[in-house]
Amino acid sequence: MSGTSKISRRDLMSGLAALSFGALAAPGRAASHTLTSAEEVGKWLITHNALPAHRGMLLAGLTQPDTVTGWQAIVRADFASGRMVSVDGWLISDTEARLCTLAALDVEPWVGA
C-alpha cells in the first residue's frame, strides 16, 4: 500500500460517515440493529469469521481513493460487481466491511501498512 500515510484514523471514521453508512452507523438515526458503529460492525465480522482479523490481509483487499469522498465511488463499484458482505442480514460493501474490521482492530490502516 503506498501513498496512504496521510490518512489518519480520524479520516477513516469521517470517511465511513461520508460513505453514508445509513442504516448501520449514521449517528442520531434510529438504527435498526445493535450494530450502531463501524467498530461494532467490524467486531461482528471478526466474531463470525466473515473477514480475517488481520490488518495486512484486510488492507490488501482495499482499493484506496485519492480523496475521502472517493470512498463512495469505490463502495458503489463494490455493489455494482456484487462484492457484498452480510452483517447478520445487512448487506454492506466489501470495502465498508474491511474498513469496519480495521476500525474494530483499532488500527490506523494507512500508517506503516
Binding site: F21, G22, H33, S86
Partner: protein
C-alpha cells in the same frame, strides 16, 4: 340473450356455430369478439348464476396433494364473470423473452413469438378498462405524477408498468352487452360434464351438460372453446375419457402437468432508504389518476433473463412500518406458540432489542390492536417470480366426486431448487443495485446459505400451463392456434395454454389470447372450415 338452464326441458339439444364453456374473462371476451360483425351463433355456457352460490361453488373444491396451495374452492369463483369477481386488477403484458427458448430452462420456447400476440394487447386494454393510450410507457406515468424513475442498470432491471384495472368484474361489466347481442346466448347454471367425440377422438360431436337439480341437455356446435380457467379446462379434458382412457387430448400424458402460479415473497428484503421515501413514489403501490391507475414495478430485464439461469421476476415496492425487528418479534411469538424456538433465535432477539420503534409498534399493535404507533418508513419490496416449467407440478383427478358425480381435481403443486435460486439471485441483485446507486441499504434473510421457502408466501392465484401450447402433441396440449392437438374443432382460451408463465399477471394476456382465438375462429368459419 341470457337464459337459465333450469328452464330447459330434460334431454333438450342446443345448437350453435361456436360453443364456449365458461364465462370468465376468457369466455366473455371470446363471445363478444366472435359475435362482432360475424353472424355466427354463439352459445356461452356458464356453470353458475350471477352471484356466488354455495352449491355451485362447491363444485370447485378439491384436495391438496402437494405443497400447500390456496383451497381450490377459494382460489377461484364459479359464477358469471368467474374469478374476475375477486381479482386485484393488476395488468402486465408478456415479454419477448417469455416466448423464446432459454436453453437452461427445459420446456421453454413457445411455437409463436411475442409479435404474434402484441397487436392483441391494444384490443385487450379496453376490456380490462386500463388506460389505452400508452398504458405500459413508464415515462408517461412518471411525467403524470412528476416522479423520478430510478436509473437501474439496464443489464439487470427495467422499470415496468403494472396497469391497474378498476378491477373490471367481467360478469357485471359485460352482462348488458351479452344480453343485447343478437347472436349470443348465455346459458347460466349449465355445468358441462363431458366433451363427446367421434370414435377416433378427432372431432368433438357434442357436450353433455347438466343443471344442479335440473335438466340434463346436450349442446352441438361446429367449434368448441374451453374457457373454464386454468384448472377446470384440464379437469374437463381428463374427465372426457370415453375414447382415450387418459382423457381427451392426453394421449401423451401432458394434460394437467406443468401447473404453475406466481410465487410472491412478501417481503423479500427491507430497504432502509438513504433518501426521502418520496424518491420512490413511482413505485409505491398503485396510483389512481383520471386516466386510470398504474404501479411502477422493477422487473428483471430481458437481457438478464437471457444471460442468467433464473426465472423472470418483479419487485413491487411497498412502504412499511413493519421493520425487521417487528418481523423478528412475530417469528418468535409464532414459534413459541408452537412450542419451539425459531432458527437464528439470537439474531431475532438482537433485531428486537435494537429495533426499538419496530418493537414498540409490535407491542402497541398487540396491546391495542390499532396498528403501528410510530409511522416509520421502510421499503419492503415484494418479489414475484416466474417458476420454471415442471412436469411433476400438476393437477390430477382424484377418486372423490362432487354432487354431479364428477371426479374432483387435486392440486399437486411443486416448486424447484431453480425457483428458490431465482428468489435468492433477485434479492441479491436488488441489494447490489440499491447500494450501487447509494439509495440505501438492504436487510434480508434470503441470502443465508440455509434459506428455504418461507412458511407462507403470496400466491397470484394465477393458474397457468396445464394445457401448454406446443409444436407437437408430445410436448404440449394445444397448437399455435390454441387448438387441442389432434381434435379438429376443440380450442382452449385460458392461461392454461401459457407454455411458460412469465412474471406478468395473466389476465390481460388471457383476454388478448381470447381475441386472437376469436379472430382465428372467425376466419375458419368464414372459410367454411369447420
Amino acid at each position: 340473450m341470457i337464459l337459465n338452464a333450469k328452464g330447459l326441458t330434460d334431454g333438450a339439444v342446443l345448437e350453435a356455430d361456436i360453443c364456449i364453456v365458461g364465462a370468465g374473462p376468457a369466455g366473455i371476451t371470446a363471445a363478444l369478439e366472435l359475435a362482432k360483425a360475424s353472424g355466427l351463433k354463439i352459445l356461452l355456457l356458464e356453470s353458475g348464476g350471477t352471484y356466488l352460490e354455495d352449491e355451485t361453488q362447491d363444485l370447485y373444491a378439491g384436495p391438496n396433494l402437494g405443497r400447500p396451495y390456496e383451497p381450490l374452492d377459494q382460489a377461484r369463483l364459479r359464477f358469471l364473470g368467474g374469478s374476475s369477481n375477486h381479482w386485484a386488477g393488476n395488468c402486465m403484458r408478456l415479454t419477448p423473452v417469455d416466448f423464446e427458448e432459454r436453453d437452461w430452462m427445459p420446456g421453454s420456447g413457445w411455437p409463436i413469438s411475442y409479435d404474434d400476440i402484441a397487436p392483441y394487447y391494444d384490443l385487450a386494454a379496453p376490456y380490462v378498462q386500463i388506460q389505452e393510450d400508452r398504458p405500459f410507457d413508464f415515462s408517461y406515468w412518471a411525467r403524470k405524477i412528476e416522479g423520478q424513475p430510478v436509473d437501474w442498470n439496464p443489464d439487470i432491471f427495467e422499470n415496468t408498468v403494472s396497469c391497474s384495472s378498476p378491477p373490471t368484474p367481467f360478469g357485471i361489466e359485460y352482462e348488458q352487452d351479452l344480453e343485447r347481442a343478437a347472436n349470443i346466448s348465455v346459458v347460466l347454471y349449465a355445468n358441462v360434464l363431458e366433451i363427446e367425440t367421434n370414435e377416433t377422438a378427432s372431432e368433438v360431436t357434442g357436450l353433455r351438460v347438466v343443471c344442479i337439480d335440473g335438466p340434463r341437455f346436450r349442446v352441438r356446435a361446429k367449434s368448441y372453446v374451453l374457457a373454464q380457467g386454468g384448472i377446470e379446462v384440464a379437469r374437463l379434458l381428463l374427465l372426457s375419457d370415453r375414447v382415450i382412457p387418459q382423457g381427451l387430448g392426453n394421449a401423451q400424458d401432458q394434460v394437467g402437468r406443468y401447473f404453475t402460479d406466481h410465487v410472491g415473497i412478501r417481503p423479500a428484503l427491507w430497504i432502509w432508504p438513504d433518501q426521502k421515501v418520496d424518491r420512490f413514489k413511482l413505485y409505491e403501490g398503485p396510483t389512481y389518476l383520471d386516466v386510470g391507475g398504474f404501479w411502477g414495478t422493477v422487473a428483471s430485464s430481458n437481457d438478464l433473463r437471457r444471460r442468467e439461469s433464473i426465472g423472470g421476476f418483479t419487485f413491487y415496492f411497498m412502504q412499511t412500518s413493519n421493520s425487521p425487528g417487528y418481523r423478528s418479534a412475530q417469528t418468535i411469538v409464532r414459534s413459541l406458540k408452537k412450542g419451539d424456538f425459531p432458527p437464528y433465535l439470537s439474531s431475532h432477539v438482537m433485531n428486537i432489542f435494537s429495533d426499538l420503534d419496530g418493537m414498540t409498534n409490535k407491542v402497541y399493535d398487540v396491546v391495542t390492536d390499532k396498528g403501528a404507533l410510530i409511522d416509520r418508513s421502510w421499503l419492503a419490496p415484494w418479489l414475484n417470480i416466474e417458476c420454471v416449467p415442471n412436469p411433476d407440478s400438476r393437477v390430477r383427478l382424484v377418486d372423490e366426486q362432487d354432487r354431479l358425480g364428477q371426479r374432483r381435481i387435486g392440486m399437486d403443486w411443486k416448486l424447484t431448487e431453480q425457483d428458490l435460486n431465482t428468489v435468492k439471485r433477485a434479492t441479491e441483485l436488488m441489494a447490489q443495485e440499491i447500494g450501487r446507486m447509494g439509495l440505501g441499504r438492504v436487510w434480508t434473510e434470503a441470502l443465508r446459505d440455509d434459506y428455504d421457502w418461507p412458511g407462507s408466501f403470496g400466491l397470484g392465484k394465477h393458474a397457468c400451463s396445464t394445457t401448454r401450447m406446443s409444436e407437437t402433441p408430445k410436448t404440449g396440449v394445444v397448437d399455435r392456434n390454441c387448438r387441442v392437438h389432434g381434435v379438429a374443432n376443440l380450442f382452449v382460451a385460458s392461461s392454461s395454454v401459457f407454455r411458460t408463465s412469465s412474471f406478468a399477471q395473466p389476465t390481460l394476456s388471457i383476454v388478448a389470447f381470447s381475441i386472437r382465438l376469436a379472430d382465428h375462429l372467425k376466419q375458419l368459419h368464414k372459410a367454411g372450415q369447420p
